[in-house]
Subunit: 92 residues, 2 copies
Amino acid sequence: MVEALPPASQWITVLGLLAGVLTTLSFLPQVLKAWKSRSTRDISLGMFLMFCTGVFLWIVYGVLVADIPVIAANVLTFLLAATILILKLRYH
Amino acid sequence: MVEALPPASQWITVLGLLAGVLTTLSFLPQVLKAWKSRSTRDISLGMFLMFCTGVFLWIVYGVLVADIPVIAANVLTFLLAATILILKLRYH
């Protein structure tokens, strides 16, 4: 049975993908909370302005180095974080 | 003067570093806001639980693949995001 396990490098890749999925999808509960409560007073505008700018630069970086996982993860993160930014500006 | 400019690959690296600095330091305004206001009602507990877990996995991934920039960026991000999580649990 041990022979059927993937090599260590594959487990490391799975770990990295899991890390990326968690950090990207983590913004979804905040989108849903802000959307439902229509209250964003405690959310920092500075955080989401900096974060969206940084994630946009990650996308540009991913395009320039032709890294599909970096592009994909950051496009999704950008959509979620920009939604929080818009809700912050609307319900501040 | 044009010859003094670094090659394109160096500009791309600078862009990636700038992206990393922005996304990492973006959590600082949220730490300061939550700390000063002692109010975290609008912050999603689910977001910061998922995000801290994901960033912790990024640190483990960085250690396993011996990637110093991944380790450094994520250790700092973890410290800031975990502080927000603690403030959320304290002032919920």
